[in-house]
Amino acid sequence: MRDAPTRGMVGLLAVAVFPALVVAAHGSSERGQAPSDRDASAYQAVVEQYCVTCHNERLRTGNLALDGARLSRVADDADVWEKVLRKLETQTMPPPRRPRPDATTYTEFASWLEMKLDAAAAVDPNPGRPTLHRLNRFEYANAIRDLLALEIDSEALLPGDDMAYGFDNNADILTVAPGQLERYISAARKVSRLAIGDPSIEADVARYPLSSLLVQNERMSEELPFGSRGGTAISHHFPLDGEYVIRIQLQQNSGRRESQEIDVRIDGARVALLPVGRWPEGHENAERAETAGSSLTVRVPARAGTRMVSVSFAEHTMVTEGVGPRHLPVWTFATGRGFVERMALESVEIEGPYNPDSLGPGPDGESEKASRRRIFVCSPSRQPDQRLGRTEEACATEILTTLARRAFRRPVASGDIDIEVLLDFFRAGRAEGGFDRGIQRALENILVDPEFLFRLERDPPDVPPTTAYALSDIELASRLSFFLWSSGPDDELLEVAAEGRLSDPLVWEQQVRRLLADTRASSLVTSFAAQWLHLRRMRSVTPDVNAFPAFDDNLRDALVRETELFVESQIQGDRSVVDLLTADYTFVNERLARHYRIPRVYGSRFRRVTLDDPRRRGLLGHGSILTVTSLATRTSPVVRGKWVLENIFGTPPPPPPPDVPALPESNRDTTPQSLRERLELHRASPVCASCHVRMDPLGFGLQNFDAVGQWRERGDAGTVIDSSGVLPDGTAFDGPVELRQVLLTRRSEFVRTVTEKLLTYALGRGIEYYDRPAIRAIVRDAERDDYRWSSLILAVTRSMPFQMRRSEP
């Protein structure tokens, strides 16, 4: 194990170990000697000639002054020069109609400046210093899952987290407020009791409402029986073996008069078939069926654990899913509550447990709870032979040491003071309610321990202030697992770290690849990509029901699922990140295929389809992204253009001044005006134009996709859609296919943007000017492997800011 004294200053250690750093530092220093002062003064003259007129100490246009900064000492003003470099690369300054240097000067100055900045960073690296990191709600839930084999509803247990720099794992904003600790204490009590299967858990109700915008006219999910209609499948945690009340509420709609049977299943096995509605006279169900009340109740036995509860309508007609088209429902919105006219569920409630232990022993002779198996690594009452004679205390020590190691994400010795404290809790609980109660009390304490709730990184004692140093292997293990899994390290990663082997580049790469291949890496999709691409906003978008009557929650869910499956297939398939923009396939179910007008896709199951239509290819053809970048009533080329600038090019435009109004809706009394004509109006103002000249054309390229991502030829006012655009540099395109070609010519900007987003997410802090050299090194490193996901992710984990930290000033 690499211990504190040898961790020392780096420059030396990390550079020696990690190829990416070697390349960056070595390459830079070699090139760093070449440019002479002559270059510096020549380029200084360029700055004087073209920039200083506006960017000087007196005017500070754009809050930038260049007259004091000297190119002969770029390190002194690296923040300023990084800004200049960005403008040189994109050739966006000086502004239009101002004198500007020729193209060669732009590129040569840019590469010279980049080299100087990289060289300066190699001499004096600044890895930054993320604040103490509290686990966010998502990470907390994952940590509980991995620690206790227990799926929890963290949204019910803990408050949500704010976002900063686009992500909710930003350490700066993960603060602790007084009310929060109460929530943690309360969550710790509930989680620990669930985990050990505390027999004294009181009955509670969980309510699962179905959105009124969910059309329940088809099979809703792969978890529901074949041939079923409507309803829902719920992954519910049953805390104990016992009896549970399942209460089903029907929607108040005209479908209540149907004759139907509700099929209730737990883990696929039917536990009830309830006739509801009006049955014909003389039918055996006519007497039994519930007609009056809207609430149906069934009491069923269930074994402890997380189980799939499904509630759906049993269809009596023959349905051969996946063979032929289902005919579309006639939608009305008379009730104003959605498009329902068939009998539909409003909510499902599960209440319990009642009469715990009434079921008798399970197949294994005891409760089958996965979380108990995870926790009770030994048992004082039924010792296997080789453990005979061990006391309860020894077993408790073993259990708690294992738990503490996983929870605190570091090696824990049995004599550790933390274990002593936990044993005190164990003894108190043991005296009061037996062995299990003792473990539960200690576990409860672990779950509010600051070492569990926070990720700690400590400066080694021998490092001078404000100095870059390499993180310890144990700290790196957590950085890695929280990056790729949004959770703590598993036993193997922790073990490798404890043995000090993570500094071996081969071991590091092997661990990164192992974590990436694990199912837990899906958090890169559900957390990283969902936030980067603004997918999470799909939950709250509300397209106008009059303009888009077909938009229901089935479509909402399908749109999100499409993008998730697509990004997952890209990462798991280790494609080049550039393929995100170009891939010729996607994932659809019947609902989504209808939306995209892709023929011959039937049923609720998602499947991969090849996109023969090039217009739909890549992320920019995804309905999810096209919807979150639209307004409720119409598309917004501005918002879409801004999304592209921000998430593809990494150059978000500054916000508009406060007194700039949004576009008025087109006035129906006068001549129809196309959106383009209306937008041209406010681009006439020079203040607006400076940004909109970059945003709007990009958005117009996507105008054929309406506000919920459906293809259209004509706009709201009946005008033919014009999806052409001209970028500030004169590049012209027409439609999404040509727009994509334009984006591909600027693929390096896209890769850099993905890198920035990944690094922001991996570090849990905002990107600063001093990270730019590292970002360039990551991109260079990944370029050799065609920017494959694994190469980019590996390069991020090997980068200086990931491997190092800056000591306190």
Partner: protein, 452 residues
């Protein structure tokens, strides 16, 4: 009065209590405890804020006449039934929310950050966010000494922008109004069940012995946490230590609460139902449930300071049920389009209607000699006037409640230009017996609130 835990039909229990603790929107019969038994006759002022975003269509907000004979404007019409307990304050300004040279454009972060603090929010997206101690927290320092919770912060629909909250301003500014120190924003809770458990605890039991035992255990956990933090702090950096100190101060807060609760552990309890896990599907239901919880919190005297953000600035909430499918924020940049102004007016009238639900519940709840409405001082309003321009002058502000005999009601008062909003805060603090020298940019107490 004794309440058994037997399955008494809900309505019977509530009627039997003779007190209006029925929570029409709360479901799921799980009893929890509160303190009703010791309703002392002494008047207890309570402080409240109900915030609505994106200003108001002022010509539909401001009543035409001043003084006590004023006619309710269109937006305020739903509040007409509470005339005697209502004051409309016109002309108050919110200067600290102004955009300073060099500030990023985003006005909403500045406006929310300054609303209760009277301090210009520091423009930053990083960890160095800074505003000021908010007026509710100044009040809570004193009013909170006698209650289990010093204050309660709740809100609905906290922003989900899929990115930065407001350009150049940390999400901390948008997602709360309340700051216990200039650098400690207090998050607002949006889940009814979490609010309920914060008020009444998470145990299903009303048994004092069980409650006492739970507190004992909480205390031993808190002790262990305190010791652990002390061990960890020795080799951490200053910023990290300050974050752990926040954690510790949270520990002390819970300890204080336990001490208070222990002192009253044998109090008699009404039966209150615990809301179920999820957030209600409809905005209206959600708001009303949050108002119900505020009524219960005041009634059981668990806290005397509540801040409620009905919806946040920048919200994309739509109101199809009002015929307004447009997202609220986009609509608020109305460009004086008559159609947009009409839609905004509908939203604002609807919000006022929800507020009237709250006032109605307060009036129906006995407290001391009268009703809760007689005791409270609740500020209702927004941090801007004309949302199209993010105007921060002449804000839409209403004051509701009798303030334990301190507020007169039935008035529309027009204040001179440039009267700081914080002068109102200063006045209210003084009326609640929390004399304060200054709040943000305040210059002195407001006239006319009691003595017209």
């Amino acid at each position: 009065m004794i309440i058994t835990k037997k399955a008494i039909p809900r309505r019977m229990v509530l009627r039997g209590l003779g007190a209006s603790v029925a929570l029409p929107l709360l479901d799921g019969m799980v009893p929890a405890l509160t303190a009703l038994g010791r309703t002392a006759a002494a008047a207890k002022p309570r402080w409240g804020v109900v915030y609505v975003p994106h200003g108001a269509v002022m010509n539909h907000w401001t009543p035409q006449q001043q003084g006590s004979g004023f006619e309710f404007s269109r937006i305020l019409q739903p509040l007409a039934a509470f005339r005697d307990r209502l004051t409309v304050l016109s002309g108050l300004d919110h200067a600290p929310a102004a955009q300073l040279p060099g500030d990023p454009a985003g006005g909403h972060g500045r406006i929310t950050g300054a609303f209760l603090t009277g301090v210009h929010a520091k423009p930053t997206e990083g960890a160095d966010f800074e505003a000021g101690q908010s007026v509710d927290q100044i009040a809570a320092r004193q009013l909170g000494q006698e209650t289990e919770l010093a204050s309660l912060e709740i809100g609905i629909g906290l922003p989900d922008f899929g990115g930065a909250c407001d350009a150049g301003f940390s999400c901390a500014y948008i997602s709360t109004l309340c700051w216990s120190t200039p650098t400690t924003p207090l998050p607002m809770e949006s889940r009814p069940r979490a609010v309920f458990e914060r008020l009444f605890g998470d145990g299903g039991s009303t048994d004092p012995a069980a409650r006492r035992e739970r507190m004992e255990r909480d205390r031993s956990i808190l002790d262990a946490v305190t010791e652990k933090v002390a061990r960890l702090k020795t080799d951490l950096g200053a910023r990290d230590v300050s974050k752990l100190d926040d954690y510790l101060s949270a520990v002390r807060d819970v300890e204080r609460r336990i001490r208070r609760a222990e002192a009253d552990v044998d109090r008699e309890l009404p039966l209150v139902e615990r809301p179920q896990g999820g957030i209600p599907a409809s905005f209206e239901e959600h708001v009303k449930l949050m108002f119900d919880l505020q009524v219960v919190a005041y009634q059981a005297d668990l806290t005397r300071v509540i801040s409620f953000m009905m919806t946040p600035e920048l919200t994309a909430q739509t109101y199809p049920e009002l015929g307004v499918p447009d997202p609220h924020h986009a609509l608020s940049h109305h460009e004086n389009n008559p159609e947009s102004l009409e839609k905004l007016t509908k939203i604002q009238t609807f919000h006022a209607g929800l507020f009237s639900y709250y006032l109605d519940r307060l009036r129906a709840t006995p407290d001391g000699e009268g009703s809760l409405l007689d005791q409270v001082m609740i500020l209702y309003g927004s941090g801007m006037s004309n949302s199209n321009l993010h105007n921060i002058q002449k804000l839409p502000i209403v004051l509701a409640g009798g303030g334990a005999g301190q507020l007169r009601g039935n008035q529309h008062i027009q204040y001179p230009d440039e009267t700081p909003l914080t002068n109102l805060y200063l006045t209210l603090l003084s009326k609640m017996g929390v004399p304060t020298e200054r709040v943000g940019d305040s210059t002195g107490e407001l006239a006319h609130l009691t003595d017209l």
